[in-house]
Point group: C2
Chain length 422, copies 2
Amino acid sequence: MERQQKEWNQLKHEPSKRTDVYNLIRSVLEKDLKVPADLKKPLINLGLGEPSKANGFELPEVINEAMIESIKGETANGYTMSSGTLDARKAIVKKFSNPEFPFTVDDVVLSFGCSGAIYNAVSALCEEGDNILVPRPGFPLCYPISQNLNINLKYYDLLPEQGWEIDLNSLKSQIDENTKAILVNNPSNPCGSCFTKAHSLEILAVANEYKVPIISDEVYYGLAYGEGSEFNSFGNLTKDVPIICCSSISKIYCLPGWRLGWSIVYNNHGYFDHVIQNLHKHAMIQLHPNSLVQQALPRILGEVGEDHFTTLKNKLKEAAECAFNRLSQIRGLQPIKPSAAMYMMIKISLDEFCDIEDDVDFCKKMLHEESILAFPAQCFFAKDAFRIVICQSTKNIEEFADRLQDFCQAHYKRTAPLVQDQ
Amino acid sequence: MERQQKEWNQLKHEPSKRTDVYNLIRSVLEKDLKVPADLKKPLINLGLGEPSKANGFELPEVINEAMIESIKGETANGYTMSSGTLDARKAIVKKFSNPEFPFTVDDVVLSFGCSGAIYNAVSALCEEGDNILVPRPGFPLCYPISQNLNINLKYYDLLPEQGWEIDLNSLKSQIDENTKAILVNNPSNPCGSCFTKAHSLEILAVANEYKVPIISDEVYYGLAYGEGSEFNSFGNLTKDVPIICCSSISKIYCLPGWRLGWSIVYNNHGYFDHVIQNLHKHAMIQLHPNSLVQQALPRILGEVGEDHFTTLKNKLKEAAECAFNRLSQIRGLQPIKPSAAMYMMIKISLDEFCDIEDDVDFCKKMLHEESILAFPAQCFFAKDAFRIVICQSTKNIEEFADRLQDFCQAHYKRTAPLVQDQ
């Protein structure tokens, strides 16, 4: 063999292409938005969607109780079924199954967070070369997934002026013979929007017309707080279109980092009979999520009351209104009022500014000059905007708005130059 | 589009080939070894390697303390770096890095258990069509991994009569231009063996000669209890051969199910420079393992004392001796004395039995007649043997041996027929 003739230092292992993946957020964090060690002011981090205690989001007591019970009981220190314990999956059925749109434990597969659930669903539905349709702006996870699985992403547009509804013509125009699923994310990250029931039905009508199933990323399940906005799971809106709903405890129970998610397969017309089998088989490779969290899940889903969600939504609503009102008054920025999830998008009128190249440049300068971390729209397949995370105290948001105002002030085009050229 | 002309019930989604994976253990559990509801006796489960409380393996107190501290502190309810927190990775460096064979936090990537670590390593090293060499008998995980990644497995033999050392000629004969790694599993599941230092160096010499790196599955790190047997991590035996060592807290800390594992890259000669990058990138898809366990990891690795490992090894040794002594006395069975890990292989002399077709048939009948669950060698790419898990009380093992003796008695060939044919 040729290798035998060489020394190790003449060789270098070229890793697989499938692991050479690119995460838009992580990549920007490591380059343009690398937080400098010598920040001028305390960092205001509006980057990651983490509804944790550090951000003023308290956990319902029962959650820690249930986890401590799991730990002390020491009956959860063992392997479970790869797809998750029967009890954990039963708890998901009990919590989320609607009598009109029922599913069973066999239709549920646990995963490593909602990211894992989406990865598993896409992996099961697509061969190499197939494509899925994804929203623009949209959560960037599908990008490294597509690279890993060697599939194509085709983008459909969301319309900011219509509350981030899907441009249905754009959606239809993207469907081709190799389209294996439409990925929807409702409520939306990064848009902070939630589809009306009527619009969800329009989307389903397209899926039904073209016979393309839906992967619904519902990690912000239920988190619609806007006036008159109402969340409907795609699984509960159709008896025709087959749906895989992905979610987790990370956002709605304020447990990012615990990494327990799930896929629920709404196997309408038996279309997903074989897919369900493969989701279970596929789980046998990396096995199940943490067994303690699995054991705690029935109590988490069963005992956390409506008051938790009401408080959570009220906090988000308060933060959203505060952010929207303040930012609406800043020239050159157009915040788009959020009504759901934990985010707000803010359009940047680049022509109001004298030295801002694009959204990445805006965020980079904002970080260096005002110690604010937020992600540019380019992280979400879009441009000329940036996203802020609103699971923050209003105090933080006020401080953010003050600094942002100063920042813009320093970068506006000046109508008359301050100093005449010599 | 053609699909538009059809109804959903005329369509069926054919899932991807990559998710159509086959786990030998799970598959046999669902078919031949499906535990009947009406077992004749209480089940003796010698199937899964679970050193948990239910099997008489107590946790060091500090482990639960550390986890409860994580939970109550509520500072771990957030996303961490995809590759794991710096503190968790530092703890791994502190515990496992040898001054002579050092590695840094950048060489460590956390994963979903050791299964996840092995999956990640193979995924990073191999393109489709490449191959890795795996032991026979060996842990069956690499089979679904190979199907998922569309790579080939080539088997090298372990020699039971030489304490399950690798048949080095068999190993060499399997290496070809597309061989991207030799996977070793030391201590071994299912063999319950541990390589001597001299033999490990022989294996490294082959890897060095052919310039093939090693993936070392060391999930039973340190668990060598046999007379004179001694564990050496492959990472600590070479400055030439590049190694990826995979391990987890599941076995050595008796925490199966918690799903925190890691890869340590021993980047000798910089051969893995690009591989390390991709391991970190690849982690950005499904992100990090449970954040609470990550936060507890420094205390688990730092404060669990030698007494835990001594107790664990003594228990395994006692169980191994008990099982070996009892089973040695059963005609038709040749137990191979284990010296490490949590398993023992038992050869079956099929010609001693009148109605046992093969090892699967043996295990199936043993389950149905004596309510003993153990896995046939076919689950481990081998044959004519079965594996028992020895992390059991000696009481259980005695009971198992009694039943096994009865079972064999009922199936021996009879030298003279009891009833003459008419």
